[in-house]
């Protein structure tokens, strides 16, 4: 499952990058820092608006894979602990745990 989620997220990164300037594009790597509010020393690639774009793409791809049975809702994810969204690795972990 983890591998499949990783593939979906990397696929989402590819689609997301088409709509972004060079400096806002995400790299396909587990350590890629997505987002950080104050407190993190590493600077995230995404502002809050782009974070939503990216997560909507992830959600759409998960729904496609799960046949609309995915219970994951990005609005919940955005409200969760910042650490879940820190980087691609933590996002994969969060989805793996919460995807039913």
């Amino acid at each position: 499952m983890k591998d499949k989620i990783s593939i979906i997220i990397f696929d989402a990164i590819e689609e997301f990058n088409f709509s972004q300037d060079l400096e806002n594009r995400l790299e396909k790597k587990i350590e890629e820092v997505l987002f950080s509010r104050s407190g993190y020393t590493e600077k995230g690639k995404l502002d809050s608006m782009n974070l939503v774009y990216f997560l909507v793409i992830v959600e759409q791809k998960l729904q496609k894979y799960m046949g609309n049975n995915s219970t994951l809702r990005i609005q919940d994810l955005i409200e969760k602990k910042e650490s879940d969204l820190k980087n691609i690795g933590t996002l994969i972990k969060y989805i793996e745990i919460n995807l039913k």
Binding site: Q20, M49, V52, Q75
Partner: protein
């Protein structure tokens, strides 16, 4: 516009993704976008001092949602009291703001208004005049079109097309609630494609020539093997019908002003017989400006055709069903656009119509007859081969050149020629409609148009010269001539006209500064042999001297 372009995006929703798609859309023309403050459309259009206007942008995009920008339309959607006259007034006020703001950029693109009709059923009354939602939407879009019709540099883009391509996935409520973005990325991607295609068309970077293969491209089967009687074209056969429709699509592009040519590995006699004799052929021999039907390398044939037609390789599209030939042409001639053709002929027409490189932003009578004009030029070239003395030949072909000032009747053609001519072009100055109007309206500036005819036919308006007369000096700012009429003495007549004009304005000197580009060396070569005195790309002529022109050319002065 230079190789990098800048744009201002104005919207009442989050439009950041359009900026991303625009910047990723073109390698040769990077786009930098400045986004106006969110949901402050009226303020942005009124206030020229906002940050987003401070970058001397080339273009602006105004894209709004009708229910957000027009309160009467929102009322209509909610089945509240609504006054159609008030709505029209709102639209008129909005268009006035856009017209005022359009002077801050070279080009303004306005997206037509659309609503999500896939998710909501507006009922049977939706088309009822003045109250049905779809009827009203159509009317306010028509009003937009009417208001912008006579506005140079404001172009209305069809947003409904972007939504339809995305089908049921155009609108995304999640993105709206979380981000105030109504659309999925597919819509932004398509909008960016449309905007870039329009910009390229205005810059004269659209393609001018389609070179097609024959077997399994224009018709099904190998004509050399099965004979023209048995090729698949038209009739009661899905593939035959599809090949015929593909030919109709090519013919439509030809009527728009795109030239057609053939490069095919075949016996010329057999292939031409098929074109002439097969009754289902939509394209006939005279639809093709030229052809190379032989067993030679296709890349070599394409280069020969480009030379014959005086066209740059970057203005050519090559269409061939054979992937191997496509790959070879792509690698041998990287400037040529070689689109990936679908393997299924039933998709050929759709594939061709989806290519966004043939857009015209203006339409002139010369576009419709372009193939004929090239055919006449070919006849001239053939004829000249039989005559040993060029001057004698020129005397025999009855050249007539009409000179007139740029006026309402020829304005669009002058604009088109200025923006698309590369080789015989002194400074390659490109103009938007508004810039040209402004330039011409200055008392110091004059722009003359030259039309050439001879016994082979009418080449139409093919030359332009722009002259600025100031402080006793005349400066030729624009010297533009279509390659089709090079060598027919129009070049000399143009210089003669500029010098005579300078004399009438009491100028003593006529200057012309050559600005080199990758393509305009022919212009430099002409000035070099023109008799003007050269000093480091600056050419001068003493205006007290008359510029000699051949007596066998008849000059017709019209509103000169």
């Amino acid at each position: 516009m230079t190789s990098g372009i800048k744009g201002v995006l104005i919207s009442d929703f989050s439009i950041n993704n359009l900026a991303g798609y625009l910047s990723n859309n073109s390698i040769e023309q990077p786009v930098k976008c400045f986004i106006a403050p969110f949901n402050q459309v009226h303020h942005t259009l009124i206030d020229a001092n906002l940050e987003c206007w401070k970058h001397q942008s080339d273009f602006a995009v105004v894209w709004t949602l009708p229910e957000r920008i027009l309160k009467n339309f929102a009322a209509l959607l909610n089945y509240e009291n609504f006054d159609f006259a008030d709505l029209k007034k709102e639209v008129e006020e909005f268009t006035s703001l856009i017209i005022n703001a359009s002077s801050r950029v070279k080009l303004t693109f306005v997206a037509t208004w659309s609503i999500d009709t896939t998710q909501q059923n507006y009922g049977i009354l939706t088309t009822k005049p003045d109250t049905g939602i779809i009827n009203v939407l159509a009317q306010i879009n028509l009003l937009l079109a009417e208001k912008f019709w006579d506005q140079p540099n404001i172009y209305l883009l069809d947003s409904n097309k972007w939504n339809m391509r995305a089908s049921n996935n155009a609108y995304n409520p999640k993105l709206w609630y979380l981000n105030k973005t109504p659309f999925n990325n597919m819509v932004f991607a398509d909008a960016a494609k449309d905007i870039m295609s329009s910009i390229k068309s205005i810059q004269g970077k659209n393609k001018k020539l389609i070179i097609v293969d024959l077997d399994n491209t224009l018709w099904g089967g190998i004509v050399g093997d099965i004979g023209y009687e048995n090729i698949k074209l038209g009739g009661h056969d899905p593939e035959g019908e599809a090949y015929k429709d593909f030919q109709f699509a090519l013919k439509m592009l030809k009527n728009k002003g795109v030239l057609l040519a053939i490069v095919s590995k075949n016996e010329e006699r057999v292939a031409l017989l098929a074109i002439e004799k097969k009754s289902e052929m939509v394209l006939v021999k005279k639809d093709f400006v030229s052809w190379r039907i032989n067993w030679e390398d296709k890349a070599k044939n394409i280069v020969e055709l480009a030379n014959e037609l005086n066209l740059g390789l970057d203005s050519i599209v090559f269409i061939d069903d054979n992937a191997h030939e496509r790959e070879w042409v792509k690698s041998a001639l990287p400037e040529i656009f070689v689109p990936e053709m679908p393997s299924d002929p039933l998709l050929y027409r759709q594939f061709l119509l989806n290519l966004d490189c043939f857009n015209n932003f203006i339409s002139t009578k010369e576009d419709k007859y372009r193939t004929k004009l090239y055919a006449e030029e070919k006849q001239r070239t053939e004829n000249i081969k039989t005559i040993s003395n060029l001057e004698e030949w020129l005397k025999s072909i009855d050249i007539k050149i009409t000179i007139e000032k740029t006026n309402e009747g020829n304005f669009q053609r002058v604009l088109q020629l200025l923006n698309k001519t590369n080789q015989l072009n002194l400074q390659t100055r490109r103009f938007t409609e508004r810039e040209l109007i402004t330039w011409i309206s200055s008392d110091e500036n004059s722009m003359f148009a030259f039309s050439v005819t001879d016994k082979f036919g009418d080449a139409g308006l093919t030359g332009i010269i722009g002259v600025t007369c100031k402080d006793g000096q005349a400066t030729i700012t624009d010297f533009v001539l279509s390659c089709r009429v090079i060598g027919r003495k129009a070049e000399e007549i143009m210089l003669y006209a500029a010098i005579e004009h300078a004399k009438n304005k009491f100028c003593k000197i006529v200057n012309a500064t050559f600005i080199a580009t990758e393509k305009n060396k022919p212009c430099y070569d002409f000035f070099k042999r023109s008799g003007f005195i050269e000093k480091e790309n600056n050419f001068t002529w003493d205006a007290s001297k008359t510029y000699a022109i051949p007596s066998y050319v008849t000059l017709i002065l019209k509103e000169y």
